[in-house]
């Protein structure tokens, strides 16, 4: 049985892995270009080239240049990269975990759960002892959002998965119920919130990168980076899970460990993203779809590529949201929905007759 073949030829098994790895490089270059474009374009006309020249030669920036580039656009850009990659990677991991392309954190209530966590921290944070607020600072909202997302993901998984098989209908319906429940809790909290808190809370409903600060970047960025790094190691396990939970275990995957890590990763990335940007939809569902169509479903390359493409789409969406109604700003959630919903429908229509995604 060692060798039944007298000759050997390529089975093409690595072709899509190779193209997936090539896509890493292409998307990384595209991301750099998108970053340059995003940081250059804005309502205030400031030359990036001039700023870079000054920074390189050690000259001091003008006050306006400092504020526009270092205090507004740069943290906003980094927030966009973090949030876009976090949402897309969470989508790819959740879809692999549930073995279903509709399992997006936004669609199945995980983002809503994270939102409730963040809202609880905003509204109820004032009732906590001062030393706790001082100790956690900006991290309190992120931590609370993570817990909210984690609880939602666990509840969803427990409800939708029975005997190792996930029911799509149950998952979506459970997602609706979790979303509705989260909405009810948010409603109560909004009802009892004061005026300042209400202004903060309005931000959640719309989704925006406008309030990006270095503090938020430093709070959520590391959590998102760690989550993506961990998620990128789950590729083989999620590929195995595509064959069903029992078969995944037969090929040597510790399925319970994989599920625990995947749920925590999604909750952390989604929670951190929601905490700093509010609810931004469609990134998590559309990005992995587009990539599966081009580089195939292999999670070993799909997850990282989702991170790159998610970041690109979000920072370009943010750029559109800033310039399309300048000097005022369109909420980014509207832009991602306008771009994402038709793409999603197109994918649905093109896959109507296919048995798998």
């Amino acid at each position: 049985m060692d060798s039944l073949s007298g000759y050997f030829q390529n089975t093409g098994v690595d072709d899509r892995v190779t193209s997936g790895r090539r896509a890493h490089k292409i998307l990384l270059v595209a991301l750099l270009l998108a970053c340059l474009l995003s940081i250059t374009i804005g309502p205030v006309d400031v030359s990036l080239w001039l700023v870079l020249q000054k920074l390189a030669t050690g000259q001091s920036l003008t006050n306006l240049e400092h504020i526009i580039f270092l205090d507004i656009r740069l943290p906003r850009l980094i927030t966009g990269i973090c949030v876009g990659s976090a949402l897309a990677v969470s989508g790819a991991v959740m879809q692999g975990l549930f073995r279903n392309p509709l399992a997006d954190p936004g669609l199945v209530g995980v983002s809503a759960g994270a939102g409730v966590g963040a809202i609880i921290a905003i509204v109820m944070g004032g009732f906590l002892p001062v030393f706790i607020n001082n100790f956690f600072g900006d991290y309190l909202i992120i931590l609370s959002a993570f817990l909210g997302g984690w609880v939602s993901a666990i509840v969803l998984y427990r409800i939708a998965t029975h005997n190792g098989q996930t029911s799509v209908a149950t998952m979506l319906l459970a997602g609706i119920a979790i979303g509705a429940f989260a909405g009810a809790i948010s409603g109560v909290l909004i009802y009892i919130a004061d005026d300042k808190q209400l202004r903060d809370l309005t931000f959640w409903g719309l989704g925006s990168l406008a309030s990006a600060t270095w503090g938020k970047v430093m709070g959520a960025g590391p959590l998102i980076l760690i989550s993506i790094a961990i998620a990128s190691t789950l590729g083989r396990g999620l590929n195995g899970l595509a064959l069903g939970e029992a078969t995944a275990a037969h090929i040597g995957i510790s399925t319970q460990r994989l599920k625990n890590i995947a749920v925590c990763t999604v909750a952390a990335a989604t929670g951190a993203a929601v905490a700093i940007s509010g609810g931004i939809g469609f990134i998590g569902i559309v990005v992995p779809h587009l990539l599966r169509k081009t580089i195939g479903p292999d999670h070993r390359t799909l997850i990282l590529n989702s991170g790159f493409l998610g970041a690109i789409i979000l920072i370009l969406s943010d750029m559109i949201s800033r310039v399309i109604t300048a000097p005022s700003e369109l909420p980014i959630g509207i832009v991602t929905a306008v771009l994402g919903a038709p793409v999603f429908l197109w994918i649905l229509l093109s896959k109507r007759n296919a048995s798998v995604w």
């Binding site: 049985m1 060692d2 060798s3 039944l4 073949s5 050997f8 030829q9 390529n10 089975t11 093409g12 098994v13 690595d14 072709d15 899509r16 892995v17 073995r99 279903n100 392309p101 083989r236 590929n239 195995g240 899970l241 595509a242 064959l243 069903g244 029992a246 078969t247 275990a249 037969h250 090929i251 040597g252 995957i253 510790s254 399925t255 599966r292 195939g296 479903p297 292999d298 070993r300 296919a354 048995s355 798998v356 995604w357």
Partner: protein
Amino acid sequence: MLFVDQISVSLANTTILDRVEFRALPGEITAVIGPNGSGKSTLMRAMSGDIPYEGNIELNGHNIDTLQPWELATIRAVLPQKSVLAFSFTVSEVVNIGLCNGIGAESNKIIFDALSCVGLLGFSQRQYSELSGGEQQRVQLARVLAQVWKPQESVKPRWIFLDEPVSSLDIAHQIEVMNIAKDYAHSGGGVIAIMHDLNLTSMYADNIAILYQGKKLCQGKPQDVMTDEWLSRAYECDLRVNTSPHPPSMYILPHLAVSRSKSDQ
């Protein structure tokens, strides 16, 4: 050796397996037969480590409960009764999923050999979901073979567990699959197969266990187990074991007159 020692399995307060003892040796095809609901697939699931059980299951001298999934995966591969697949993987990608390292010339060679073995080499870049049920079953068999393909000095013997491996195949491919199992056994590996086809079982199995109502009725060489008495008792209908001289082999047929008169009563 595979040694199943007095295992019992209960699901939802119903006893599915009751103190079953079962042995299998490498170098042989050990078949498990029995009527529907006799506990064959439950036995397979317990031996595969899918469900909890009372008792003890040893594989190559290791209690399977003490092995991590990745350790167990180096010793045995499992072909489930029904396979599912999410997302649009190609045939070679499905086979590749069973491999531990997954990328590179060596895995490419294993995939090539495994697909050649099941006669699907020309299908390597086809979408798995576009194949027929029988072809998908053979791809899954290639995945199982690929998982335990490369000999490992530290893990001897390696096993394949096949749960109704020929259920969705035509007669030619049934024989092809059983020949693959036989070759695997002859190369020193162990094969456990849950079977429904009594004639194929009598042709290919070196050792046969019959389950009945969650208990082992008997186990032994085909000529000892495939008798009118044991089979009729297990399947609750009158079965006759006949012999064919050229080549010498057994074939099993129902004795319709008796079966009909029993059902009429």
